[in-house]
Amino acid sequence: MTTLAEQDIGLVDLIDRLLGGGVVIAGDITLAAADVDLVYVGLRALIASVATATEKGVLPGMGSAL
């Protein structure tokens, strides 16, 4: 019998997978209002470029210290 804490951990691992992983198919309609998702995707692209720039030390002031 798993303890409550153990069940919770199993649950976190489960959620990481079911909701954070797996094949993502474009056009699935379980997403919320389409307008928000457009914003979501646009900003996601922006943040992705910030993250990449930072990794490469291109972001001004950060350099390779990161």
């Binding site: 798993t2 804490a5 951990i9 649950l11 976190v12 993502v24 919320a32 928000v36 943040i47 990161l66």
Partner: protein, 113 residues
């Protein structure tokens, strides 16, 4: 609920922080009601702020470890980051967001934070 454990440390009953209930770990986007639109935008903005906060904090720590910061600078930076961290906590609470919510899955890049 099947037992998925292959290994667990002894004394797992208390992990320090209480683990979140399912309501708190589910991403907001699964609940498509109107109030969440605003929270969704707040989530995005706060995630960016959180990213910057972590980057800056990390750089400050490196500089501190390098020895390239004076004691006053360390103290001042620490105070600033503390205040920022507290303010972030307030903002998260205002929008009903948890720390885990301030993350974005960038697909092939993995999670942002």
């Amino acid at each position: 609920m099947s037992d998925k454990y292959l290994h667990r440390p002894s004394g797992l009953d208390s992990l320090g922080d209480p683990l979140p209930s399912i309501d708190r770990v589910l991403p907001r986007r699964l609940n498509a009601d109107p109030e969440n639109l605003e929270r969704g935008l707040a989530q995005l903005v706060l995630t960016i702020v959180e990213l910057l906060r972590q980057l800056m904090e990390r750089q400050a720590v490196r500089r501190m470890d390098d020895g390239s910061l004076s004691d006053e600078q360390v103290e001042r930076l620490g105070q600033t980051f503390m205040a920022l961290s507290e303010r972030m906590a307030e903002l998260r609470e205002e929008f009903g967001l948890e720390e885990e919510d301030l993350n974005l899955n960038l697909g092939p890049l993995g999670n942002l934070l």
